[in-house]
Subunit: 230 residues, 2 copies
């Protein structure tokens, strides 16, 4: 049994799981801040990190703890009704709750009241996610553009067009709009929806509950409400 | 504190650390076998995995446990005398002893006396290394060929030419020769050697202790001895 120490937490605009992109790196406009825990708050541990454009995060699936081992999972992108082996997916429901994400390193803030902070883009992590390790992305060993992607190769990642009425969009801070629209365009609905979809959905993002409906290939935002702080 | 369960072990030709390539994927001829622990010995957990050409392994740096956190390390490839932040390296001496390697999936053996076995190539892992997670490599999110690789971009990975006398090479089983020669060509010496290098080195590989000297760009094998089983 190995025990792990939390070295940092990431702060993102996602207070809940619904709406988080399926994988890291899909929505570049999503920003995150990595703040180290007190024990690891040491600028010298980051010396040289500015030379890398991308980083690996190994993190804890903190909201997906399973009580017992289930060898198969139902990926939402396969419609949620086909079972696939857990080691053939990046599902959170796995023997050890370890997530792996590649993010872009945008900036190192060396001096903040919370010590050195890494500003990253493309993070598919819940706000407050505990991080166990940060490693540089090494293109000469990590990049395999011709790798075969299993069932993910055959999925049609259709984007939705987003109808966001100006009166509602105005409530969102300017610097958050691009990311929010991109999150919506990626179709945050669970994969097992039906063709005729009359449901109302909601995504919590950057302090707002953004409610929408989907008609065919068009996602229409119908309400934006400020979330009350917990 | 998170505790991790060992889901599998990998079997490779490296009984000791010296000689293991710096990163995974550099020597394709290196073969490994992943055998699951009893609790996770379930073929259905691998359903669909044959569709992927590459896998991520998250594993334990079992021989590199550090007693206390050191924020900087001296990468061998920087000559062993320059300190770099631990999060700017893939060094084993890190807060949590988690390794990350991309390997090629060559074959799934569904039925063996040890349950299903994954045959992989390119593994830079010590024989018997405990594995915590296996995830599919997803090229659409994991592959970034243009990423900047920090200090690793500026290192000259000069290969050595290998002079392996036929009488010595004959002692190595045929199917292990290509991998061994490639391991030697990658220059397994620690990075902090001096120009004039009179030392004898030894690499333990596939049951043999392979001793060599290096003169300039030529590595010459001087002895091959069978290792006695521990």
């Amino acid at each position: 049994m190995q025990t792990l120490d939390v070295i940092a937490h990431i702060h993102t605009d996602f207070p809940s799981k619904f709406g988080i992109p399926r994988q890291s790196g899909l929505v570049d406009a999503l920003k995150g801040e990595i703040v180290f825990t007190e024990k690891y708050r040491d600028a010298s541990a980051l010396r040289g990190i500015e030379g890398y454009s991308h980083l690996w995060l190994i993190w804890q699936f903190s909201k997906s703890v399973t009580e017992r081992f289930s060898p198969t999972v139902k990926p939402p992108r396969l419609g949620g009704n086909r079972r696939v082996g857990v080691f053939a997916t990046r599902s959170p429901f796995r023997p050890n709750p370890l997530g792996l994400s590649c993010v872009k390193l945008e900036k190192v803030e060396w001096h903040t009241p919370s010590g050195p902070v890494l500003r990253v883009a493309g993070a598919d992590l819940l706000d407050g996610t505990p991080i166990y390790d940060i490693k540089p992305y090494l293109p000469y060993v990590d990049s395999h553009p011709d790798a075969a992607g299993g069932f993910t190769d055959r999925i049609d990642y259709a984007r939705l067009s987003v109808d966001f009425p100006a009166a509602l969009l105005d409530r969102i801070p300017g610097e958050k709009r691009e990311a929010l629209i991109e999150v919506l365009a990626q179709d945050p609905r669970p994969g097992y929806r039906h063709e005729a979809d009359a449901r109302h959905y909601g995504v919590e993002f950057a302090g707002f509950d953004v409610r929408f409906v989907v008609d065919g290939e068009v996602l229409r935002v119908v309400e934006v409400e400020a979330l009350t702080k917990k």
